[in-house]
């Protein structure tokens, strides 16, 4: 092999004069051209970053921020609801989106004998957003089931999956009763044991066992 390979430290001098670069002067290690190359590219990079990074953050911001208001909406007097059947109510779920920002929910009174889980909520407010891919489910009293029109998801009276592709029960909303009125608040998700996950997840996100870690919650919600 070539001799310089044996002693790589001596292969290249750090002085430009030793490397035979034209116009090198005594003791110079970096050429003027190289300094300006790095400098110009650095300045250009800073200039691009100055507009690109804020723009990118602006576009990606909604991924990391909670836009949903943490307020409770009035859905009617307490006497409207019982623990035997669901009553359909309309709440605003995406403010400022007009009709498209409203959604139907199904509300009934909590039945302590049946609702061991989430018994702290005075009412059960079920979201109509199917846990498969988000189509709107409807409640059928005759079969006491929620049925999704898109891909045949079926849920029982508690919102638990009884058939079709959904991966977890229907989401619910926090409720409270104040001054004889029923108030509906933020959404929460449930796993198949109806255990509550305060950070709501998207449809199609499994929440059982290790699956829950594959579908992280939104950071700030």
């Amino acid at each position: 092999m070539a001799e310089p390979k044996k002693n790589p430290k001596h292969r290249k001098s750090r002085y430009t004069a030793d490397r035979g670069i034209a116009g090198a002067w005594e003791g110079e290690t970096v050429t003027r051209r190289r300094v300006f190359e790095i400098g110009a590219q650095g300045v250009g990079g800073i200039a691009v970053a100055a507009f690109a990074l804020p723009a990118l953050g602006f576009a990606l911001g909604p991924m990391f921020e909670d836009q949903l208001p943490d307020h409770f909406q009035d859905v009617g007097p307490e006497k409207d609801f019982n623990d035997e059947t669901y009553v359909a109510k309309v709440i605003e779920i995406a403010p400022g989106a007009g009709e498209a920002g409203k959604t139907t929910i199904y509300v009934r009174k909590t039945d302590p004998s049946r609702d061991q889980q989430n018994a702290d909520q005075p009412y059960v407010a079920i979201s109509t957003r199917c846990a498969h891919l988000g189509c709107p489910v409807r409640y059928v009293q005759a079969s006491r089931r929620f049925i999704c029109p898109c891909h045949g998801g079926v849920y029982g009276f508690q919102g638990e999956v009884t058939g079709g592709p959904p991966v977890r029960p229907l989401d619910r909303f926090y409720t409270k009763a104040e001054g004889g009125r029923v108030l509906v608040g933020p959404r929460f998700s449930l796993n198949s044991k109806l255990e509550r996950f305060p950070h709501p997840r998207d449809p199609s996100n499994h929440l059982d066992g290790l699956w829950q870690y594959l579908y992280p919650a939104r950071p700030s919600t």
Binding site: M63, L68, A94, G98, A100, D202, N205, T221
Partner: protein, 278 residues
């Protein structure tokens, strides 16, 4: 019997050549033909586009580039299947032109989108035609893109040295699909709304990054007013810009590397070489 000529204004009459003029160069006398006669206005009018093109060509050097780009040699056996790429590009151009004009009437607002889209179809002059061209053109573009992909695959035109062009083409296919996905929401009727809800939640089903991707598309945790404006911006600014840039790169590589012969044509060996093989 010969009728008299209608009187022509002086400026349109053919002027006799000046004495001594040989047509070699205009010495301040205006353009002349080869015999030295002054040019008629008609002849001068013909000269205008020629001189404009010449002026541009002299300053840009475009003609050697265009000659190489447009008058390339193509292999024997080139057939109609080789036009699918150009057809895809013209489908994109048609989408771009109709899309720009649709954007003049469309309002990307959750309470106005459906109304403005139906106004385009039902009330505006030629609105139904232009919206129809855009709507059916998207299907035509996808069909053409897939046929172009099939042609490239079955003719083996993705092999060395054209792998990079295959990769760019696959990215263009994905971007075309994204155009279909983002454009589908814009009419904002029940079908487009729920189809997009399902499509966004399909993205959400991907582990780890899925929920973030869905949040990016929706512009938040719920399907709202930002969703429509995001889809609109992606549909008419972000993705078309990327597609246009990548079509440029795709065409550059086609011009640089040339096209392939169809696989059923065997390479013709020089006779001398064939002899040496024996």
């Amino acid at each position: 019997m010969k009728l008299p000529q209608p009187p022509l204004p002086r400026s349109l009459q053919r002027r006799p050549a000046r004495p001594g003029a040989d047509g070699a160069g205009p010495n301040g006398q205006g353009p002349h033909d080869q015999k030295g006669a002054a040019l008629t206005p008609k002849e001068r009018a013909i000269e205008v586009p020629v001189s404009v093109v010449g002026w541009l060509d002299e300053r840009t050097g475009a003609s050697p580039f265009l000659r190489g780009f447009l008058y390339r040699k193509v292999p024997k056996g080139t057939n109609w299947f080789y036009t699918l790429g150009s057809a895809s590009m013209f489908a994109f151009l048609s989408q771009a032109v109709t899309g720009v004009f649709l954007a003049m009437y469309y309002e990307p607002d959750t309470s106005r989108a459906y109304e403005s889209a139906s106004r385009i179809t039902n009330e505006l002059f030629l609105g139904e035609l232009v919206r129809g061209m855009h709507r059916w053109g998207s299907t035509v573009m996808l069909v053409l893109v897939f046929l172009h992909l099939g042609r490239t695959f079955f003719f083996g035109a993705y092999k060395y040295p054209r792998e990079l062009n295959w990769i760019i083409g696959v990215i263009l296919l994905v971007l075309t699909l994204l155009m279909g996905f983002t454009g589908y929401l814009l009419p904002f009727d029940q079908r487009s709304f729920w189809a997009t809800v399902v499509g966004v939640n399909l993205n959400s089903s991907g582990p780890i990054i899925g929920p973030y991707l869905a949040d990016f598309l929706r512009g938040g945790p719920e399907f709202g007013s930002y969703t429509l404006s995001r889809f609109y911006a992606m549909h008419m600014l972000l993705i078309p810009g990327l597609i246009a840039a990548l079509i440029g790169a795709h065409l550059y590589l086609v011009a640089k590397l040339g096209t392939t012969a169809p696989p059923w044509l065997k390479a013709e060996k020089p006779k001398a070489l064939a002899k040496e093989e024996i």
